[in-house]
């Protein structure tokens, strides 16, 4: 088996990319702030306070319009101009490295930069559009990274400062972790992702650096099921939920302790569809009937660094994480779970019918 692992690393090794060391322009995601609200906050906190890096979080920056683009609502010319505006904001901030929070956006930025390389006339046209609309001009970024690339880059620094390891507190055994990479991270441009499309290393590298064990299960590379139109059109949602079902069914025999994702859509759908499947078919994929917690890499990094679970926003998830916190030996106060920053009690969410909490 040692030789097998060695060669897997060899395969990964062929896809490494340069990730800038410091000074990032932060491009946020549209949906993460609603569904995993602490993730982006934790990214900024870890980069600035733990690692001492400079990140500019620009209030003028907007959606990349990726969901509209992938739903055939936003034309390519429009999205190129929106992305160009973000590059203009980056240029105005005196920065050259763009750090993108969303995998859909990352895929779009990569696709657009690739387009401009092969069709320079598209770039010129976009410059013209942007100038006419906003009087802005822009430089292309020197370095483009998904924010999971950045956390991956600093995974050992985070491990050194870690309070918790990804092991069972009682037995010391490593946790079984499933990683799921967003399709648009490396399936479109394998060389733009760490580890490529078949054996992406970006999340598995964090898991092993922080003490966990990565599960290689048969449907590891299968899409989470989001698929834009599959979800956005209600009549198509059966396709979306069925893809998630296929993945969950395939990982079930390995008893994963949690699922780690790097894409907003994946984190949302693997989390929320577990509730839907439980309601529709009375089926859960863990031994206790509680569902398998789904974490973003920033949430995981924050937990490992010893930040309080309710500050990490785990209570906002569909699948609750108490069993995971117990396994890790992370203390939490149930009374404070739904209390806001000012100490006010928030309304309690409804309990699902078929998913235990």
């Amino acid at each position: 088996m040692d030789t097998a692992i060695h060669t897997e690393k060899e395969t990964w090794g062929t896809y490494q990319k340069h990730v800038a060391d410091d000074n990032y322009y932060y491009a946020r995601s549209c949906i993460r702030q609603n569904f995993f609200p602490a993730s982006e906050y934790m990214f900024l906190h870890i980069l600035r306070k733990v690692l001492g890096k400079h990140v500019y979080d620009d209030p003028n920056h907007t959606t990349c319009t990726g969901i509209g683009y992938h739903s055939d609502i936003v034309p390519f010319e429009t999205i190129q101009t929106v992305v160009a505006r973000h590059f203009a904001l980056m240029t105005e901030a005196g920065l050259e490295n763009i750090a993108i929070s969303c995998v859909t956006s990352f895929g779009i930025y990569t696709e657009i930069l690739e387009t401009w390389q092969h069709f320079p006339e598209q770039l010129e046209k976009t410059r013209e559009f942007l100038y006419k609309a906003t009087k802005r001009e822009f430089n292309l970024p020197k370095n483009i990274a998904h924010t999971s690339d950045i956390i991956y880059k600093f995974r050992h620094e985070i491990a050194e400062k870690a309070v918790y390891k990804l092991v069972h507190a009682q037995t010391g055994e490593p946790l079984n972790v499933v990683e799921h990479i967003g399709c648009h991270y490396a399936k479109m441009f394998p060389t733009k992702g760490i580890g490529g499309a078949e054996f992406p290393q970006v999340l598995s590298g964090m898991i092993t650096a922080w003490g966990g064990k990565v599960i290689d299960y048969p449907e590891r590379r299968h899409c989470c099921g989001f698929g834009f139109r599959n979800y956005l059109v209600q009549a198509n949602r059966g396709y979306s939920v069925s893809n998630t079902y296929k993945k969950l069914e395939s990982m079930q025999p390995y008893n994963p302790d949690f699922i780690l994702t790097n894409c907003p859509g994946c984190a949302m759908f693997i989390d929320k569809w577990q509730y839907t499947i439980a309601e529709m078919e009375q089926k859960t994929f863990d031994s206790q009937g509680k569902g398998i917690p789904v974490l973003t890499y920033e949430e995981l990094a924050a937990l490992v660094l010893g930040i309080q679970p309710w500050d990490v926003g785990l209570q906002i998830h569909q699948i609750q994480s108490e069993s995971l916190l117990d396994a890790l030996g992370i203390p939490y106060d149930t009374a404070l779970k739904y209390v806001d920053k000012q100490g006010n009690q928030l309304p309690l969410p409804n309990k699902p019918n078929n998913l235990l909490q």
């Binding site: 897997e8 060899e10 078949e198 290689d216 590379r221």
Partner: protein
């Protein structure tokens, strides 16, 4: 000055040397390994006869003795230089160079590195092997048939066209011998382990040679080997170490999923690394497939764009042992008429 310098001591080079010796020309064979025979040393049996590869090697060892053919082993050719007088200077890894009237490039092919098809999991999943690995297994052990985990496999799948006819591998050509090799190996698996179910996943079956179609039919009728028309899209490991295959059964027009205990990747041919080296040092023309381009496909399949520089065997394309030996014999005639002209 030597009449003919032959690069490569595989069957193509040795057969060329033997035929030239009979035609009365003086030859020298340079072989980079410590023994002659090339890829054939790693092969168990040959299609479609199922004869042992060592029979061929023993025959040529005997011919070399009888004909007193000179071979330098452990000698890698680093460059070929054409001289003004039309002769050649050949430089080697041993700091000796040779002068000769003609040169034969019989340096053969390389096997496709299956690790490049990442989605097939070679060297990542224990039970994924190549056709070359399977030949080694057959060579070493002919009694029990087990997978790399030591289990008698319930199901084995052979995947045709690994690294061949594949834009993603950069190889558009067909490697010609893999279909029939899969058929041969599938039969061998059934012979060793009758209870094992054997499947071949193919895009097209190209059983072009003498006795090939008959062997295919034997595999179907006598041994119950099942042929599924569809290309493997990806492999993943199940919790018990077996492998999950995803393909389409294109005749049923539906996705197809199967777990197997062993997966055999039929690796194709690629141009030998030395071909590019020779291209750079003497300007020999190569085709889009990166193999050497014969001067005329039909009429001078051994000559190249450079006078006095010839080919024999798989330096021009994937060839079976049968075709290689014929091409090598033809090389001897072409060289003889070039020298005596």
């Amino acid at each position: 000055m030597i009449d003919v310098l032959i690069i490569g001591g595989g069957i193509a080079g040795i057969e060329t040397a033997c035929s030239l010796q009979e035609l009365g020309l003086e030859t020298l064979v340079l072989e980079k390994e410590k023994q002659i025979g090339g890829h054939l040393n790693n092969w168990d049996t040959l299609f479609p006869t199922k004869r042992s590869a060592s029979e061929i090697l023993e025959y040529y060892a005997e011919q070399i003795r009888k004909k007193s053919i000179t071979i330098y082993l452990n000698t890698t050719v680093t460059s070929i230089r054409k001289q003004d007088d039309g002769s050649f200077e050949v430089h080697t890894s041993r700091e000796v160079s040779f002068k000769s009237k003609t040169v034969v490039m019989a340096h053969g092919f390389s096997l496709f590195n299956a690790q490049r098809k990442e989605e097939y999991g070679y060297k990542i999943y224990e039970n994924v092997i190549t056709s070359a690995d399977l030949e080694q297994t057959f060579k070493q052990n002919n009694d029990v048939f087990v997978n790399p985990m030591g289990k008698i496999p319930e199901r084995v799948a052979f995947i045709h066209c690994v690294g061949s006819r594949d834009e993603k591998s950069g190889n558009h050509y067909c490697s010609k011998v893999c279909c029939i090799t899969a058929v041969k190996q599938a039969i061998k698996v059934k012979q060793l382990s009758p209870q094992t179910q054997v499947f071949c996943f193919y895009m097209d079956l190209r059983l072009y040679g003498r006795g090939f179609e008959e062997m295919y039919r034997e595999a179907q009728e006598k041994w119950g080997v099942q042929f599924i028309r569809g290309r493997l899209s990806e492999v993943a490991e199940n919790i018990d170490g077996s492998l999950q295959l995803k393909a389409e059964d294109t005749l049923a027009a539906r996705p197809f999923k199967m777990s197997v205990d062993m997966l055999v990747l039929m690796v194709g041919f690629e141009a030998n690394k030395s071909t590019a080296l020779f291209h750079n040092s003497c300007g020999v023309a190569c085709s889009e497939s990166r193999f050497i381009q014969p001067r005329h496909h039909h009429l001078s399949a051994n000559a190249t764009n450079i006078d006095g520089l010839f080919t024999a065997g798989t330096s021009i394309a994937p060839l079976s042992v049968f075709d290689t030996l014929n091409h090598a014999k033809a090389a001897a005639f072409a060289i003889h008429s070039y020298i005596t002209k």
